[in-house]
Symmetry: C2
Subunit: 254 residues, 2 copies
Amino acid sequence: MFVLCDGKGWIMDASFFENVKSKDISLPEQVAEQISQLIIDRRLTCEDKLPNEFELAAQLHVGRGTVREAVKLLAARNVLVIRRGKGTFIARHPGEVDDPLGFAYYPDQMRLAMDLLEVRTRLEPWVAAVAAERASAGDLERVRMACLQVEQEVFSGRNHLKRDTEFHIRIAQCTQNLVVPKLIPIIIYSVELFGALNGNALQSETVAEHRTILEALCARDAKSAERAMEAHMEQNRRELQSIMQEVKKRGSQM
Amino acid sequence: MFVLCDGKGWIMDASFFENVKSKDISLPEQVAEQISQLIIDRRLTCEDKLPNEFELAAQLHVGRGTVREAVKLLAARNVLVIRRGKGTFIARHPGEVDDPLGFAYYPDQMRLAMDLLEVRTRLEPWVAAVAAERASAGDLERVRMACLQVEQEVFSGRNHLKRDTEFHIRIAQCTQNLVVPKLIPIIIYSVELFGALNGNALQSETVAEHRTILEALCARDAKSAERAMEAHMEQNRRELQSIMQEVKKRGSQM
């Protein structure tokens, strides 16, 4: 898409409409793309309010109804947030959605969980090693807090799985890599699913393993952090296999 | 969310509405969740048509307008596809969206590209090794085809970057892991971006490197496939760095 900003309105490259026509996308989709490009070009953030429907309609030479549909599309995709009576704002993390790969719709959740664990086993020990090397003092403090919060949930008998994911995200943030913390929630998707089945059987192991990882990170010992994470992944694998056997025994289908 | 199917309609667990209330989500969002859960529970696929608005409204005890809004939300998220005059269908890959992590909205695209490459360098050589071990004859044929298509684009002076991504996805599919081929388009995001800047400087290197990877896969030589992919990543890294220096020199901002 080619949209040029002239500071007041937008001038569209002639090739834009040819492009659009050949792709056969709806008018609200086209307008959604233009608004999305506006956010990118002007580097708008969650502090910024989108111009109102009237202004956008006038600038884009389309009806208000089309603008409204385009805004709804972008809200559904978490690019915009509509606040009743306040206006439309840019989302905090534009374009980031829950379950972005549609894992919930996969028919074979067991196989998905095994395949996710294969990817985690490849990535997370490396993440832990890099984290040990690059973490700031503040990063480590946040890992420690997340570790404590998992323990609190476990000791008070509550479900600790959300906190567990947070612990792994906090470690990923220590790498200073923009992408790694975003990948963790995707590849850790199965944790909640299988935690629910597993009935918290391995909570004490989780607490001990998390502690070992935390200590290695604080000691900035990359090799130990990597090994501790490997052990944690191996424990997860054994857990997942025992759940799969249990499910098979029950003869029930996931 | 708790929705029980009784074969005719849906019976909702009482805790569902409490849940909804506490989350403060809109009615169309609630209905979208219910439709989404219906797709999951009944294992509907892209062959399946969604019941029409009247039926859904009656089953869910909401107005047709709400159903229409919910369907639009799910269409915006690529869970449903609305075909004019034909009805609403389940998407081919429900819930999978372009740029699912919202990378287009990142202000520092250079840093993003470097960080993506760090992840690729960790993952893709491993993917190539696993691919060499697990690929079927059909998988290898598809890698070979993708390799040829990249070469055709390069030799005819066209942009080969879409085909390049496809080549890497085809290798990922050889792993038989459900998740790996889905991660490739995410972590390869920068290829198109920097290909555009780079002006196809390294096409002959790309062709030669792809060939080496393909040969290692066909020989089912995991070690060589891994090393060939490492070399390819290293070449990408050098390329990216030279682009970054070029951009700095020009004093322009990405």
